[in-house]
Symmetry: C2
Subunit: 324 residues, 2 copies
C-alpha cells in the first residue's frame, strides 16, 4: 500500500480492498501530480462565480442554490475531464460513475468529512471531494461505504455519514493540495478596493496589472474584471489596452499563450505564466553584469526592485504567433 | 383567474391559492412573453453540451451525470436570470427559492409531469419545469404539493409525484412554448453530415452558412462547429473567414450585433438576427421595381430564389461599430 501514500496524507492502515486500490491507481496514473483535478476544482468555482457576467469571485457572493450545487457541477466536470478514467455507470445502476468496472458515487461536502451517504451507496466505493476557495485547498480520495465505515445513525431519508474510522479509511489521491490561485480573493482589502473602483472593465483590468505584479493571473480573473465577451482584448498592446497604458510606467506583461513571452518571464527570473495566464512585471534597464536579464528592443532589462522607480517606458514584447 | 390563462394552457378550474397566484403574477410581470425563461432553458442545454469544447449538440451525446443534473443547472440558471423575482430562501429552510416571501421548490423532470417530490416540499409551492430539446419545447408552471395534489404512494426516500388531479392544478406560466432553435439538431442527416465533415472549424462554420440560409443561427452553434476560443472570428470578412469565402458565391451574412446589419436583413424581408446571431442570405442584383431590396455598394440587391444561381459576388455589408 506504500505506493499509494502521498505527501500530507493522513496515515492509517488501510483495509484490504483491491477494487479501491485499482480506482486509486487509475487516477494516479492519469493525473499523477493532481494538476488535472486541481483545474477541475478551480473551474467549478469559476463556473459558479460566472465572473465574466457577474463580477463575482467569492463563495459568499453565490446564491444559495449555487452553493448547494457545487458538488453537482464538480461531479459533471470530473466526468468530463477524466473521460479516460471514468465511464458512465450502467443505465439502471443508481451510482454516478463506473471506474475500472466498479460503481462509484461522487460525493462533495462543503464541510470536510461531512459527505451525505444515501442507502444506494452503502457497501459501494465513494469518490469523496472537498475544496475551499478561501483556503485555496482541495482533497480527493476513495473510500468504501462499508458498515464499519459508516455512522449507524441515519436521517429521515436514510442518509448517513462516514464514521470516524471510515474517514481514516479514505485512500487519499490528494490531501490539502493547492487550488490554482483566485487572485482577487487573495488581495488585501485596500488593493481590492482600488482594483474594483473604476467604472470601465478596461480600467479595472489595467489597475489590477498595475497593482499586482510578479503573480500569475488567470484568464478568469481578467474576465471577472472586464465583465465583457472579448475580455482578453483588454490586455492588448494598442489603443487603451493594458499593455500600452502600462508600458509608459515601465510594465511588461508577457502572456502564457506565447512561448516567446514565457521565455521573457523565465529569463527575468519571474514566475512563468501558463497558457491562459499573464504576469505583470515592472522592468528597468539592466546593468551590464546583472543576473536575470532579457534583451528586448536591443537592450538588456531586469525586474525593478520594490519601490524602485521606472525611469523609462518598458520595451515591446517579442512579436508572437499564437500557439495552437 | 382568467387573467392567468395562456394560449395552449390545459384548462382546469384551479383551486383557490392566493400565494400561488402571486408567484405566477410575479413571473408574468417580469417575463410576459417567456423570452427570458426560454433563453434559460436554451442556455442550460447549451451549457451541458459545452459545444465549444466538445462539439456536442444533442441530448444523447451527454454523459449520464450530465443528463441527471439538467434540473440542477436549470435551478441555478433560473435563480440567476430571475434575480428580480426569486430570492434565496431563508438559510435553514429546505426549499430552493423564496418568491414573494413564499418558499418555492424548483423541480425539473425529463418526463413531463414526473417530478419527484421529497417530503420537505409537501404542502409547499413548486415551480415545475419540463423541456425537450429534440421537440424544441418547454413548460413552466406553479403548483402546490397539497395532499390531494400528490400521489399517496412513496418510494423508500419518502418521495412521491403529483397525482393526476395535481397535474391539472398546475398554473402554467408557459405551456408548450418554443425553445430558441438548436440549428444543428434541426438539420436533415445529409446536410448535417456535410456540415460536420470538414476537419477545420473554419470550414465547418463556412459549410453551415453555405447550406443553411435564411435561418437565424446563434453564437453557440458557431462555437460548437468552430470548437475554439475565438469562434466568432470564423465569420470574419478577411482572410479565409466565412464572409469573405462565401461572398464570391453570392452570400451576405449580416450579424444581429449590428443595427446596420439587422437593417439589411429587414429590408431584404428575411428574419432579423438577434444580438449574438447571424443569418446567411443568398442575394442577386435586383430588378428596378423588385420589392424587398437593399442598397449596398451603390446597387439594389434582393434575396435569390431557391435554385437561382448567383451571377456575381455579394456586396460588402455596411461598415459597423459594435453595439454596446
Amino acid at each position: 500500500m506504500s505506493d499509494l501514500t502521498l505527501p500530507g496524507m493522513p496515515t492509517a492502515q488501510l483495509e484490504h480492498d483491491p477494487a479501491r486500490d485499482e480506482v486509486v491507481q487509475a487516477f494516479n496514473k492519469a493525473d499523477p501530480d493532481g494538476k488535472r483535478a486541481a483545474a477541475v476544482f478551480r473551474a467549478t468555482f469559476d463556473q459558479l462565480y460566472d465572473g465574466q457576467h457577474t463580477g463575482r469571485f467569492r463563495w459568499d457572493q453565490l446564491f444559495k442554490t449555487e452553493k448547494t450545487h457545487y458538488g453537482t457541477l464538480l461531479e459533471i466536470n470530473l466526468r468530463r475531464e477524466f473521460d479516460d478514467v471514468i465511464d458512465d455507470s450502467v443505465e439502471d445502476h443508481a451510482l454516478d460513475y463506473s471506474i475500472c468496472g466498479y460503481d462509484v458515487d461522487c460525493k462533495f461536502s462543503q464541510g470536510m468529512g461531512l459527505w451525505m451517504l444515501p442507502p444506494e451507496c452503502f457497501g459501494q466505493l465513494l469518490l469523496v471531494a472537498w475544496a475551499d476557495d478561501a483556503k485555496g485547498t482541495w482533497c480527493l480520495g476513495v473510500v468504501r461505504a462499508t458498515d464499519a465505515n459508516r455512522r449507524s445513525s441515519a436521517n429521515r431519508d436514510g442518509k448517513t455519514q462516514l464514521s470516524l474510522p471510515g474517514r481514516q479509511q479514505i485512500a487519499w489521491l490528494h490531501y490539502g493540495a493547492s487550488l490554482p490561485p483566485n487572485v482577487l480573493l487573495s488581495l488585501d482589502a485596500l488593493t481590492l478596493q482600488k482594483v474594483l473602483a473604476p467604472r470601465s472593465g478596461q480600467a479595472r483590468v489595467t489597475e489590477l496589472l498595475r497593482l499586482v505584479t510578479e503573480r500569475r493571473i488567470g484568464r478568469n480573473t481578467i474576465a471577472t474584471l472586464a465583465k465583457q465577451d472579448d475580455y482578453m482584448a483588454r490586455l492588448r498592446d494598442n489603443g487603451n489596452g493594458a499593455r500600452t497604458t502600462l508600458r509608459e510606467a515601465g510594465y511588461l506583461i508577457p502572456g502564457g499563450d506565447y512561448e516567446a513571452h514565457r521565455a521573457v518571464a523565465r529569463k527575468l527570473g519571474a514566475e512563468v505564466p501558463d497558457p491562459g495566464e499573464v504576469i505583470s512585471l515592472r522592468v528597468v534597464p539592466a546593468e551590464a553584469d546583472a543576473p536575470w536579464t532579457v534583451e528586448l528592443d536591443g537592450r538588456q532589462w531586469r525586474l525593478a526592485h520594490a519601490g524602485e522607480p521606472a525611469i523609462e517606458p518598458a520595451p515591446k514584447l517579442p512579436d508572437v504567433r499564437k500557439r495552437q
